[in-house]
C-alpha cells in the first residue's frame, strides 16, 4: 500500500452540500411526517427558525465529513454559533432543548451518518461493484443499552418487500442479508411495521441513533447462501438521484422544496419560516 494525499468522500460531502436551509417551528414529530425526499434535500432542525444557524450546522457537518473536525469540536462550534441567537444556554437540558449536548450530538451524528450511509450505498451500487458484491448485510456496528429489535423489523420489511430469501437467510443463519436491488432496504427506512423513528432512506443508519450499519456481501457468499444463482444478474438499487440537483441554482431548490411542502396543506411559510397551518 502506498500512502498519498487525502481524498474526500465525495458522495457524502455532495449530499450534505445540496441541502437547502429550512427554518421551521415544526416539532420533531411533525418533521418526521415530511416526505423522505424533502428531508434529504432540506437542512432543518426541529424548532430552529434561524437559517444562518442551519447553515452553520451544514458547514460543521461538512468539516466532520472531510475529517477536519471531530464531533466534540463540532458541538462547541455550534454552541458558539447559538450564543449569537440565544442569550441563555441550557447545556444540561435533554434532547428537546436545542442547545443541549444531547440535542446537538443527535443532529451532528445523524446528519453525518446519513451522509456516510448515502455515500457508501451509492458507491456500493455501482454496477461493477454490484457484480462482485451483489448483496448487503445489516449488522450492529455500535452497542446500545436498549437495542431495538432489528430482526423483527427485518421480517416485517422483508414481508412488505416480498423478499422471501431475506426472511429465509435470517431464519437459517441469524443474519440480515438481502440483495442490493431488494425493496427491503427502502421498507426498513420507511419503518415498515409502523416504526416512527426511521429516516425514510434506503441506506443506513435507517433510524435515529440506531447503531446499525451495512456491509457488502461477496458474490461467492451470496451463492453459498442461495441469494443468487450463477447466472443471476443483480441490478443496482434505484437510489434517489441527487446529481441533477447539483446543476440547478440554490433558488430553484428552495422553490421546489417550498412548493412540495405547500402541497401538503398542513404547513405554511411565514417570513420564510416553515410553521404548522
Amino acid at each position: 500500500m502506498n500512502f498519498s494525499r487525502p481524498v474526500l468522500f465525495e458522495e457524502a460531502i455532495r449530499l450534505n452540500a445540496i441541502k437547502t436551509a429550512l427554518p421551521t417551528t415544526l416539532t420533531s414529530r411533525q418533521l418526521a411526517a415530511l416526505s423522505a425526499d424533502i428531508k434529504r434535500r432540506a437542512q432543518f432542525s426541529a424548532r430552529v427558525a434561524e437559517a444562518e444557524y442551519l447553515d452553520q450546522i451544514s458547514g460543521t457537518i461538512a468539516d466532520m465529513l472531510s475529517g477536519k473536525t471531530s464531533l466534540a469540536t463540532g458541538r462547541v462550534q455550534l454552541q458558539q454559533a447559538l450564543r449569537e441567537f440565544m442569550p441563555a444556554l441550557n447545556p444540561d437540558g435533554g434532547v428537546t432543548d436545542i442547545t443541549s449536548n444531547a440535542r446537538l450530538d443527535l443532529i451532528l451524528r445523524t446528519q453525518t451518518e446519513m451522509a456516510y450511509g448515502y455515500g457508501q450505498t451509492v458507491q456500493g451500487n455501482d454496477p461493477d461493484v454490484v457484480a462482485a458484491f451483489p448483496c448487503t448485510e445489516l449488522y450492529r456496528l455500535e452497542d446500545r443499552k436498549d437495542p431495538r429489535d432489528w430482526e423483527a423489523r427485518w421480517r416485517v420489511a422483508a414481508q412488505v418487500a416480498g423478499d422471501n430469501d431475506a426472511q429465509r437467510v435470517l431464519a437459517e443463519t441469524g443474519r440480515m442479508i438481502a440483495r442490493k436491488d431488494s425493496g427491503i432496504w427502502q421498507a426498513l427506512g420507511d419503518g415498515a411495521g409502523g416504526y416512527t423513528d426511521t429516516l425514510g432512506n434506503p441506506y443506513p443508519p435507517f433510524a435515529f441513533n440506531s447503531g446499525m450499519w451495512t456491509r457488502d456481501i461477496s458474490r461467492s457468499e451470496a451463492l453459498e447462501l442461495g441469494l443468487i444463482e450463477p447466472q443471476t444478474i443483480v441490478k443496482s438499487a434505484d437510489l434517489p438521484d441527487f446529481n441533477q440537483s447539483l446543476q440547478v441554482s440554490y433558488q430553484f431548490r428552495s422553490d421546489a422544496i417550498r412548493a412540495a411542502l405547500l402541497q401538503r396543506g398542513d404547513v405554511k411559510f411565514i417570513d420564510g419560516i416553515l410553521v404548522p397551518e
Binding site: M1, F3, L8, G67, A132
Partner: protein
C-alpha cells in the same frame, strides 16, 4: 487529518487480467477490488469498536464505529484505487509515534474525568464552571470550581456518578476535569488497518468474483 492510501495489486491480478477478454480489464474490476479493500478496512474498525472499550471504563464515544462509517472508495487511478478514511486520528496512529501540539490554543485539554470525555473546555456545559490549577505545583489542569454531580445512593445505579443541578450537586468541587498539556505523543498503532497481505487476498477474491460475474453475463463488463 484524514488518511488515504492507494492500493496497487497489479502483480497478483495481472495474470488473471491477461486471460480475460479486454473488455474486463477496465476500471470496473478496480472498483470491485477497491470495494473489497474498503470492506476489510471497515470490518477492522468494526472489530476495534467491539474489542476496545474505553480504557478508563468511561462512556464510549463510538470513535471506531465512526471510522468504519467514514471509509470511502473514490475513483480508480492508473495503478489501482485510492481509499480514504475521514475519521481524525487514524493517520496519527498509523504513522506514529505522532507528536500532537495545539493549534488554536496554548495547550491541549486532555479529559481527566468521565464527564469531560468527549467534550472540550469551551463546551457550554463547562461554561463558568472550570478554573485553572497547578496540581502538585507542577501539572496544569482545569478543575471544577463547584460541585457538579452527585453519587447515586441506592438502587441498581448505587455508587454511580450522575450529573446534578447546582442545588442538588454534592460532589466534584476541585476535581480535575482536564489536564492541560503542551503536547502529547500518540504511539504508533498498525492494528488500525488490516495487514497488507489480508487486503491483497480480499482484493484478489473480489477480482475473481467480478470475473465470474462477467463471464456469467457472457464475458461482458
Amino acid at each position: 487529518m484524514s488518511l488515504s492510501f492507494s492500493l496497487s495489486i497489479r502483480d497478483e491480478v495481472t495474470p488473471l487480467l491477461r486471460s480475460l477478454p479486454s473488455a474486463l480489464g477496465g476500471d470496473g474490476i478496480k472498483l470491485a477490488i477497491g470495494r473489497a479493500a474498503a470492506r476489510l478496512i471497515q470490518a477492522n474498525f468494526a472489530a476495534l469498536q467491539s474489542q476496545r472499550p474505553n480504557r478508563h471504563g468511561w462512556p464510549r464515544q463510538g470513535y471506531w464505529a465512526q471510522a468504519a462509517r467514514s471509509v470511502s472508495q473514490p475513483k480508480p487511478d492508473s495503478d489501482g484505487v485510492t481509499i480514504s478514511v475521514a475519521q481524525p486520528g487514524i493517520a496519527a496512529r498509523w504513522f506514529g509515534p505522532t507528536e500532537i501540539k495545539p493549534v488554536a490554543a496554548k495547550t491541549l485539554a486532555i479529559p481527566a474525568s468521565p464527564e469531560a470525555y468527549g467534550t472540550r473546555p469551551l463546551d457550554a456545559r463547562w461554561s463558568g464552571k472550570l478554573e485553572f490549577s497547578m496540581v502538585g505545583g507542577k501539572y496544569m489542569a482545569l478543575v471544577a470550581r463547584d460541585n457538579f454531580m452527585r453519587i447515586v445512593a441506592k438502587g441498581k445505579n448505587a455508587g454511580k456518578r450522575v450529573k446534578a443541578s447546582a442545588e442538588k450537586a454534592t460532589h466534584g468541587a476541585g476535581e480535575i476535569i482536564f489536564w492541560l498539556k503542551r503536547k502529547v505523543t500518540m504511539p504508533q498503532d498498525k492494528t488500525v488497518l488490516p495487514a497488507a497481505e489480508d487486503i491483497t487476498a480480499a482484493a484478489v477474491m473480489a477480482a475473481q468474483d467480478y470475473v465470474n460475474a462477467a463471464l456469467a453475463k457472457g464475458g461482458k463488463a
